[in-house]
C-alpha cells in the first residue's frame, strides 16, 4: 500500500511540475544560453558571438507573422551584418520537414538553427510566435519583442543601430 501512495504522490507531483517554463529575461539581464545546430550540423552558440549585436528570433513554419518577418530580417542582415549584427532564427517546429518547406518558400540569408525539442524557447520564456530578443555585445538582453508588428520595425531597427554605434 505504501508503494501505491508513493506512486500517487509522484504522479501528482509530475503533473504539477509539468509545463512550468522559465520567465522571459528582462532587458538588462544576461541572455539565457543558446547553443544549437544549423542545417549543416554546425554548432551556433550565443557565446561565440560576444562582441556582436545578436538578434535572436524564434519562429515556426505554421506561424503567419513569421513568414512576413523573414524578408525584413533578410534586409536587416544585408544592411547591418558588416557593421556587427548577427541574426539567428531559431526554428521550433517538431518536424524538420515543415521547416525545410517553409525555408524553400521564404528563403533566409541569416543563420537558422533548429530546436525541435523546445528546450531553448522554454529557457527563453517565449510567450508568442514569433518572439525576438535583441542581445547586446556583452550578451545582455536589450529588447524583447513578442509577435511581428509592422509598427515596431522602426523602433527595433533604431535600437539595433544604437547598439552598433556604441559598439
Amino acid at each position: 500500500m505504501k508503494v501505491l501512495w508513493r506512486y500517487v504522490l509522484l504522479v501528482m507531483l509530475a503533473c504539477m511540475t509539468h509545463g512550468a517554463s522559465a520567465a522571459a529575461p528582462a532587458p538588462g539581464e544576461t541572455a539565457p544560453p543558446l547553443a544549437l545546430l544549423d542545417a549543416h550540423g554546425e554548432l551556433v552558440s550565443l557565446e561565440q558571438l560576444r562582441g556582436r549585436v545578436v538578434y535572436v528570433d524564434f519562429w515556426a513554419s505554421w506561424c503567419g507573422p513569421c513568414k512576413r518577418s523573414f524578408p525584413w530580417m533578410n534586409d536587416l542582415q544585408r544592411r547591418y551584418h558588416a557593421r556587427g549584427l548577427t541574426i539567428i532564427g531559431v526554428n521550433v517546429d517538431k518536424r524538420r520537414g515543415d521547416a525545410d518547406r517553409f525555408l524553400q518558400q521564404v528563403p533566409s540569408t541569416f543563420t537558422i538553427v533548429f530546436d525541435a525539442a523546445g528546450v531553448t524557447p522554454n529557457d527563453w520564456g517565449v510567450r508568442g510566435m514569433p518572439s525576438s530578443y535583441l542581445i547586446d555585445p556583452q550578451g545582455r538582453v536589450a529588447m524583447v519583442e513578442t509577435g511581428f508588428l509592422d509598427e515596431r520595425k522602426a523602433a527595433i531597427e533604431a535600437r539595433i543601430q544604437k547598439l552598433l554605434d556604441a559598439n
Binding site: G19, D93, N122, R127, M129
Partner: protein
Amino acid sequence: MPRVAVRGILARRLVVFLLASSLAACATYAPPQAWEKGDLAKPAMQFDPDPLAAKLEQHVYTSKEATTGGYGVGGGGCGCN
C-alpha cells in the same frame, strides 16, 4: 461488521480517492506553450476548415431557418437575403 466487508469498503473508498486526486493533479496541466501549437494551427483543426463553404452553408441555414431563430437574422425562407 465482518472484517472482509470493512476491507471492501476501505478499498472502494481508496479507489474513489485515487480517482479524485488524479483528476485534481491533471487540472494543473498547463495549456500548450507558444512553440507547441504546430498541430493546433493546422487547417484540419479549425472549426470550419473551408471558410467559403461554411459561409454558404450558414447563409442557406439562416434563410431557411430564420423563423426558428437561425443565426438571428430575419428572413422568410425565400433564400433571397
